[in-house]
């Protein structure tokens, strides 16, 4: 599937979601803010998602869904996140997490049941979280005792999205006291009588209903087991590589809307006799966030493609995306809030979607492997992650970065718990820089800094004691982990830039092939945020920000998205009944 096909799928989705500016549309920002204020689920918006079969995006093609390539899953669901992150999370993303475990290790019967439910617009709850253990699900205490007819489950799961309505529940429970003592179960709630639970009050994501699940000697049959007994953690940690790579890609949509809202404000608002958008610092802030969104899209899409191409390194790539992209996006929201000034916390009026995104965003990114969990996954495997191919496979490199190279259907069984082999993406940092044709002085200086960092990283990792790679790792190992994730992101952007510079006609390739975008993107990836490091880092020539700002204004006026696909938010789409294949 080509980039053009991926764009068509996104625009078909936007066409179905309707005009985001029209207050009468259930999927408009104004209406979704009103739902948020009421504290209710956005029922009308969910009805639209159900009607258009949005749940098909989570179901593999061979199970009658439309999921084919993981990079396209991220860009398609991003369209829903542009409307409302809570809508994306409430309607579907936690269902995807649950379903991922079933696609990875479920029986044919379990897969077919889950597929039908999602295609029909239903939900699957993912019940891992216990209040005492957070992301440390290896310590979870809900018990599943073996019985004559199967298992009996006892214990409490806390803050589970859709626990009140999901027809199916994937539950994580302890089945023995040994270290491989957890298993996954698929519960059919229509056959259970679960006690009602109060909803959890939250600051953001009002459109999601989180509640608790209490199990008291609840009987399930042996056929409820997902994957082998005792392999629950192994199945989950493999399946979640997919969701950890895709969720940040989707979350870019929320910041896309935050940027659009802020840019519209800046253009309209007049201060001291001229518009806010004429202030150089505002232009640089907006251009910087725009460059970050494209870079975040490229990094997460590259990681998603690598799950197809190099699944043996999936645990590294997915953790790196989940570790770095939310951090970049969170800082971007704060930068935009500074531009919006007092508007950023107003709960009514035309900019009110911004404060909602700002409240919702933390729930999006901590909900599924917090940053320190991803850091621990990366840190333990740094020696594997920095292994370099002596003779990189050119064909393989092209498949990673040339998004018009079609990938086969995703193989859920190919993912490994730990990383092995050599890293194509880390290797590509060197080949990408070597092959880059730009002679821009600032850009070459950034390349040199990246190469210096990679040399520092490799020698630090070689000298690091194994103990430093453990859970109680040193500050040095934390720094090495951050540098590693940033170098992977830089590699993705540089290599994608190379593809776009080689004459591809992909949408957005003009921007991505420019020196200006790559410089600003790499500055963002290196953490040199605008105006925060003025004393520490040589500032880029402001001209490059001007170039990106012009592109931003163009996309703003054309209502196109601020990611690498540059799709229309207001598409005229005639063939609306075609199935969206991603």
């Amino acid at each position: 599937m080509s980039v053009i096909d991926a764009r068509l799928a996104v625009e078909a989705m936007d066409a179905r979601l309707g005009d985001p500016y029209s207050p009468s549309n259930a999927c408009s920002w104004e209406q979704l803010c009103r739902n948020d204020e009421s504290g209710e689920r956005p029922h009308d918006a969910e009805a639209i998602l159900k009607e258009i079969g949005a749940g098909e995006a989570f179901v593999p093609f061979e199970l009658n869904g439309s999921l084919f390539q993981l990079d396209h899953l991220g860009s398609l669901v991003r369209a829903v996140f542009r409307r409302d992150p809570a809508l994306g999370l409430g309607f579907g993303v936690t269902s995807l997490m649950a379903a991922a475990t079933i696609w990875t290790a479920g029986t044919t019967e379990q897969k077919e049941r889950a597929a039908k439910l999602l295609i029909d617009g239903g939900q699957i709850a993912v019940a891992f979280h216990e209040l005492s253990h957070g992301n440390d699900f290896g310590a979870n205490e809900v018990r599943a005792l073996s019985s004559e007819s199967g298992f009996r489950l006892t214990g409490n799961k806390a803050f589970i999205n859709n626990a009140d309505r999901a027809e199916l529940i994937v539950i994580h429970a302890r089945t023995s006291e040994t270290p491989v003592g957890h298993s996954l179960f698929l519960l059919d709630r229509t056959k259970l009588s679960l006690p009602p639970s109060d909803y959890c009050n939250t600051v953001g994501v009002h459109g999601c209903r989180l509640s608790n699940i209490s199990l008291e000697d609840t009987a399930v049959t042996g056929s409820a087991l997902i994957g082998p007994l005792g392999m629950g953690n192994s199945v989950a940690l493999r399946a979640f590589q997919v969701t950890r790579a895709c969720l940040p890609s989707m979350a870019i949509g929320a910041v896309d809307t935050a940027l659009r809202t802020t840019a519209e404000f800046a253009v309209d608002r007049r201060l001291y006799g001229f518009s806010v958008a004429e202030l150089p610092y505002v232009q640089q802030s907006l251009a910087g966030v725009f460059a970050d969104l494209v870079a975040s899209d490229i990094f997460s899409s590259t990681a998603a493609r690598l799950l197809h191409i190099e699944p043996n390194q999936g645990s590294l790539y997915s953790a790196a995306v989940k570790f770095l992209v939310p951090e970049i996006l969170r800082e971007d929201i704060n930068i935009l809030a500074d531009v919006l000034g007092a508007r950023f916390y107003l709960r009514n009026g035309k900019h009110s979607i911004f404060q909602k995104i700002m409240r919702d965003f933390p729930a999006l990114v901590i909900g599924h492997a917090a940053q320190d969990v991803c850091e621990a996954t990366l840190r333990a495997q740094l020696p594997v992650g920095v292994r370099i191919e002596d003779k990189p496979d050119e064909e393989l490199q092209r498949a990673i970065f040339d998004w018009n190279v079609p990938l086969g259907p995703f193989d859920w069984t190919a993912l490994q718990l730990g990383a092995s082999g050599k890293s194509a993406l880390f290797t590509a940092l060197y080949t990408g820089i070597e092959n880059h044709t730009s002679v821009d002085r600032e850009l070459r200086a950034i390349f040199d800094e990246l190469l210096d960092l990679s040399i520092w990283l490799r020698s630090t990792v070689m000298q690091m004691s194994p103990r430093e790679r453990g859970l109680n790792g040193s500050a040095l190992s934390s720094k090495a982990t951050k540098v590693y994730a940033r170098l992977l992101a830089a590699s993705a952007c540089i290599n994608r830039s190379n593809v776009c510079r080689s004459g591809t006609q992909d949408p957005g390739s003009g921007l991505i092939s420019s020196d200006a975008w790559l410089k600003i993107a790499l500055y963002g990836i290196l953490g040199y945020k605008r105006f925060l490091h003025t004393d520490l880092v040589e500032q880029l020539n402001p001209i490059c920000y001007g170039e990106i700002y012009e592109e931003l204004l163009s996309r703003l006026s054309l209502n196109t998205t601020f990611d690498s696909l540059a799709t229309s938010m207001l598409p005229i789409y005639s063939n609306i009944n075609n199935k969206i294949r991603v």
Partner: protein, 81 residues
């Protein structure tokens, strides 16, 4: 490479993870007794791949709980190549 040499290497590696003397680790005792966690298990697979040239799943540390058991598994993998 004999099982004994491999087992000694496992003990040395685990001791370095935990920063404890090699003499404190008994090759016949489960590693879980020494506080090996899932992050150590991930480290161990990378180190085994570096040393022996093949990937093992991090669940190895639970499937073959003692250094001797892991050594026996690795030796059989090596001899089958």
């Amino acid at each position: 490479m004999t099982e004994e040499i491999i087992s000694t290497w496992i003990v040395e590696t685990i001791a370095s993870y935990l920063d404890i003397p090699i003499s404190e680790i008994d090759a016949l005792q489960p590693l879980a007794n020494y506080g090996i966690d899932s992050v150590h298990a991930l480290s161990l697979c990378g180190d085994i791949e570096d040393k022996f040239g093949f990937y093992v799943d991090p669940t190895l540390a639970w499937d073959y709980p003692t250094p001797n058991a892991i050594a026996s598994f690795i030796a059989s993998r090596l001899s089958s190549r």
